[in-house]
Symmetry: C2
Subunit: 139 residues, 2 copies
């Protein structure tokens, strides 16, 4: 991952006169790209959104995020933990118990992610109609 990050930095060092990325210097573009990819990847948003009412255990998350596999939940949690967006607390009990919760930083992302999910829920019917109309017109 580190090697690719450096490559990206080298490649995106082109002149960008304007646009949404022009606000930041070139060396930050790769990092912002990475964060965008992380925030927008298939599961992070839903996991963050699932933590809106307090800490949850691994198995609870597995249930509350429909369709996620064990593997992807584990990976997503580790990434979010690494970025400091969630905390991981393991209790030395039998059976073992691990709880995940949002950090303050994760909470700020949480709000944005929830608004995105709400947006999808609000407009999915309109978008479906648009798609049908587009596909019909394409024929």
């Amino acid at each position: 991952m580190d090697a690719t990050a450096e490559d990206v930095t080298a490649k995106t060092d082109t002149v960008v006169p304007s646009g949404p990325c022009a606000r930041w210097p070139p060396e930050n573009r790769a990092i912002i790209r990475q964060i965008m990819d992380r925030a927008g990847d298939k599961w992070s948003a839903l996991v963050i959104a699932a933590l809106n009412d307090g800490a949850l255990r691994y198995t609870d998350l597995l249930r509350r995020v429909p369709g996620i596999s064990q593997r992807m939940l584990t990976l997503t949690l580790r990434h979010l933990h690494r970025d400091g967006l969630i905390t991981r607390t393991a209790y030395a009990e039998v059976p073992p118990r691990v709880e995940y919760d949002l950090t303050p930083l994760g909470g700020t992302l949480h709000d944005i992610v929830v608004s995105l999910i709400d947006w999808a829920g609000l407009h999915h019917d309109e978008i479906s109609r648009n798609r049908d109309r587009f596909d019909a017109a394409a024929k």
Copy 2:
């Protein structure tokens, strides 16, 4: 794509007692998933963000979204157009000219996407530190 969508619908038809997706009936989950994937895919957010100050031509977008390839710009624009998030206007001139702009619906997503990009820009340094700390502690 259609076949997989139906499969997903069938598979996600399980009971989800709570969580961020519980607000909507099961048959909408697949559609919301698709919209989330679209909104969070590698380029859509940046293309939408690039359209903040009015219509842009194909080549302008190619310049303003650093790193995007012709192929991915074409595909992204077509998807966004199909979903009714952007308009496509072709002028019968020589040389040809095509302009893309946000629809009102796209504008509502634009605001969310911009806040996400701003979030990434605001917190990238903090996240980088978190990653370094995490990686150091892992050793």
